[in-house]
Symmetry: C2
Subunit: 348 residues, 2 copies
């Protein structure tokens, strides 16, 4: 700023970050050779390789992903559509997906669906496509993913059901959740309960529907008519509200998730009904707090890491140029964790 006339003084000019050309000049090689070193291509002498690496380190060179993506047409990035929610389940799934993605050398971008908008999923997909992704995972547990335009141009897989997608784009086997729920309800029936009530998740979440379905299946398999389901909303508040509607003759309840069970437990406590003596409770998720509630909560433990890895591998298999991968090691498992919130019904 000493000489107002000096054009673009070199001092504080916003200098662009170094490129391969700069590295090449410093190392005394061609730009293409730098490219080869950076990408670990064959046919570079050890001598030049080291010279290039030294020059790159000295300049603090970082390859420009935009330029690379422009020419290769690949972003090495996958997008995830998720409900914007800090609920334990969705949040854990996101963490697991991020871990799996990065382990695969890909980057990871989330788009949360604004709540309550009918076209929210399509909008998030568009957003991800606009940002540039090679594939999309719908972690969105609601139904809105059912109506996607088919012209995305990249593979899309769903963690659950999504009517519009071809069957091979559904990453996790349908009915898996239902089977776990069925097991949980059977545990209660085995204890001697005549029937098991259910505080359901919203039925426009497919995950919620599956949990209800498994609960109903367990009854029907034994020729029992399930009681009418109560309506929850995944939250403790919803569980509490539903709990106040629970009829006095109920002796066992299967909740759509642990948070619901917490709310229900509170409602029961206020009504003077003891858990598990008067009412047995089963949740779903095995949140960290579940083992430390009073009483500790019987629940179904999920395998988010396994699910995430499974879904990602499924997606990678659909990507162009996918190496033919061997069969997925093992389907993720869920298991019932029996704690003190379940007991046989009181014999009167």
């Amino acid at each position: 700023m000493t000489s107002p006339i000096a054009p673009e003084s070199d001092g504080d000019a916003r200098r662009r970050p170094p490129g391969m050309t700069d590295v090449a000049r410093l190392a005394g090689v061609s730009q293409k050779t730098v490219s080869r070193v950076v990408n670990n291509e064959r046919y570079v002498s050890e001598e030049l390789r080291e010279k290039v690496l030294r020059a790159a380190a000295e300049l603090g060179f970082r390859p420009n992903t935009a330029a690379r993506a422009l020419i290769t047409g690949r972003f090495k990035r996958i997008g995830v559509v998720s409900l914007g929610s800090a609920l334990y389940g969705p949040a854990s799934m996101l963490v697991a997906l991020e871990r799996a993605t990065r382990a695969a050398g890909l980057s990871f971008m989330v788009a949360n669906t604004p709540e309550g908008q009918p076209e929210a999923v399509q909008e998030s997909v568009d957003w991800l496509l606009a940002q540039g992704v090679d594939g999309i995972i719908l972690s969105e547990p609601k139904d809105e993913g059912q109506h996607l335009r088919p012209d995305a141009g990249v593979p899309i897989v769903s963690l659950g059901q999504a009517a519009d997608l071809p069957a091979e784009h559904v990453a996790l086997a349908r009915g898996r959740t239902a089977a776990s729920c069925r097991e949980a309800v059977e545990h209660l029936l085995d204890l001697g309960h005549r029937q098991v009530w259910h505080i359901a998740a919203p039925q426009d979440w497919w995950e919620g529907r599956e949990r209800l379905e498994g609960w109903a299946q367990a009854h029907r398999a034994r020729g029992i008519e399930p009681p009418p389901p109560l309506q929850g909303d995944w939250t403790p508040a919803g569980g509490y509200a539903a709990g106040r509607l629970l009829p006095p003759e109920a002796t066992a309840v299967f909740c759509a998730n642990d948070d619901t069970a917490i709310g229900l437990a509170r409602a029961l406590h206020e009504a003077g009904r003891r858990v598990p003596a008067d009412v047995s409770l089963v949740g779903f998720d095995d949140i960290p707090a579940a083992a430390y509630l009073t009483p500790p909560l019987t629940t179904v433990q999920q395998d988010f890491e396994g699910d995430a890895t499974h879904a990602l591998e499924h997606l990678l298999r659909l990507l162009p140029g996918a190496a033919p991968r061997e069969a997925t090691p093992a389907a993720p498992r869920r298991r019932l964790v029996v704690r003190a919130s379940t007991a046989p019904p009181l014999t009167e």
Copy 2:
């Protein structure tokens, strides 16, 4: 597949997505005009604009962000370094940051730090820089962010303390958490408790240190010597373990977070001590379950949305070409929510 010899038949050839050139050809204009329309530049006649938009829609044109980033040098993307954790606090902050970022028209990329690695934060920052971001927010609540190389080339702001960063890169005022904690502890002292115990978070988290600091401050302000803090780890399990070490004379405990309080409550229950009659409990976070525990938990409610918006605006102000923004509307607030887990000590 009918003719195995046909070289690259046009049918299923992976055709690249349409570009501005294709749109231009269809609309009968130059590529530059398409660029102008897409970017809402001035000096395009309404007639051409509509023709271009029609052509773009017909081809399903999506601007190529890689090419745009290549030429502008900006990615319109910010990165967030976070602990990979589904803990309520971190997860809520991520959701809030995503929302704020997208509202600002930017995209958003998370890098979770692998646990337990000393250089984890630097590594995540490098990862984000390699992906291409215009700025970075450290949501990482641990200390490892203190030793960042200064040559990032993009602005970095921290949600908390990070010794290496210039002061103006710390987005949230230091001591804010401490003040809230102090208020929580004062609530207990005001109820008549002689002293308040603390189950601390790990002290290599600055957030954990601040919570301990506020607790200690509340004592010292009244000339009381605080009891030695017990060591927790944010989890119910940690709270439970610490709770078993809580001396019998303790009548009030301030927990580093709600999960810790849940574990502590369990330990107290097993020891036959009632909450709040024998021991009062205060948590931190106001997780959704807090109001539905038995007893409902007194706790400090956070303002993740506010914090996220605040931090993002702080970052945007550091970006080159930042419009001079008016002062941030209002500092995010936290407030104490008093529920049934706190009461005066029993008068013996």
